[in-house]
């Protein structure tokens, strides 16, 4: 999808501070000088084309439940099937392949610490691979709402 100036403005202005009022898209429209319908149809298109995963709140992980970063060293020839099994486990998000002996990295979430441990133990058994468990000790910067560098993009 080719983004035009208005799409980029929407992204530049509204990665945070989405209005909380009866007609939030109307307020955004007024700020950008377009119609409410246009805001809604642009957001819908951006979502359909996977430019946006959604419009809405990001919950703070440490307050919204328990989570940790986990990794496994999957045999390279089986990485796809191991990844698929990880994806099936309850509470998993952000599963990435990375170039390292620990080649699959994912975030496991659960309503509380006890459930988190249970989920990891269960997955460890299913995979028959030890899971590296790396809970956050201290966060210095945890927000993916950074300014998009449009100039650098292809």
């Amino acid at each position: 999808m080719r983004l035009d100036t208005v799409d980029k403005q929407l992204i530049n202005h509204y990665q945070r501070d989405l209005p909380v009022c009866e007609r939030p898209y109307l307020e955004m429209a007024n700020n950008l000088g377009i119609s409410e319908d246009e805001v809604i149809s642009r957001l819908t298109a951006l979502q359909e084309h996977q430019v946006l995963s959604r419009v809405g709140p990001v919950f703070e992980h440490s307050r919204a439940g328990a989570s940790l970063l986990a990794a496994v060293a999957a045999p390279p020839e089986h990485i796809d099937s191991v990844a698929a099994r990880i994806n099936e486990a309850p509470g998993v998000n952000h599963n990435y392949a990375r170039e390292h002996q620990f080649n699959l990295w994912f975030v496991m979430t659960a309503p509380d610490e006890h459930a988190l441990t249970e989920r990891l133990d269960e997955l460890e058994q299913r995979l028959n691979l030890p899971i590296l468990r790396l809970p956050m000790v201290e966060g210095y910067h945890i927000d993916l709402g950074f300014d998009i560098d449009w100039e650098a993009l292809p």
Binding site: S53, N93, H141, I142, L144
Partner: protein
């Protein structure tokens, strides 16, 4: 409000259900719905209200309260960086002496192209690294140049590190703490 009157003449609705429990359940449902994103309709909060048995005012009030509390850290357009062309995502991990890790974490967090930065425990002997930072970049070469610049700017040459580029995203979605319990 007249408390005495409330105590002596219970409202008829209390015979049907406990209103407080009903709205607690509604708030939990609201969290679930919000994790999936706002409806793209003119009155999204009203639509969420109808789905959760709350009023539109209660929905907006709950969201503002959660923002104020810090349970919601931001609210807006959630970008999928890969679709935009951020194709090189590097997790850079460092083995920093414990006594320096907090200070270095704060320093690296302030670097403009560092998008995430946090401390995690070592798991010896498999995993010696205790500081993580993420660079979301357009391509590998550019990210490696940014990393070199960071090492030079902050005298990190003596700190063992490793760069883990991601070459495939098997799953990328927001945390769903409530939905799949």
């Amino acid at each position: 409000m007249n408390n005495q009157a409330a105590q002596t003449t219970p409202q008829t609705s209390n015979f049907l259900f406990d209103t407080e429990a009903f709205s607690a359940w509604g708030l939990l449902r609201l969290r679930q719905h919000l994790e999936g994103g706002l409806p793209l309709t003119p009155r999204p909060y009203l639509e969420l209200a109808e789905r959760t048995g709350l009023t539109e005012q209660q929905v907006m009030g709950a969201i503002q309260h959660w923002q104020h509390q810090g349970l919601i850290k931001r609210s807006g357009l959630i970008v999928k960086h890969r679709t935009l062309g951020y194709n090189a995502n590097a997790m850079v991990v460092w083995d920093v002496p414990d006594i320096q890790v907090s200070q270095l974490g704060r320093t690296l967090a302030a670097v403009s192209f560092v998008t995430l930065c946090y401390q995690r425990p070592r798991r010896l002997p498999d995993w010696p690294y205790n500081l993580f930072c993420m660079i979301h970049g357009v391509n590998r070469e550019r990210v490696l140049n940014q990393l070199d610049q960071m090492i030079a700017d902050h005298n990190l040459g003596g700190i063992p590190h490793s760069v883990l580029f991601s070459n495939k995203a098997y799953l990328q979605r927001g945390g769903r703490y409530v939905s799949n319990s």
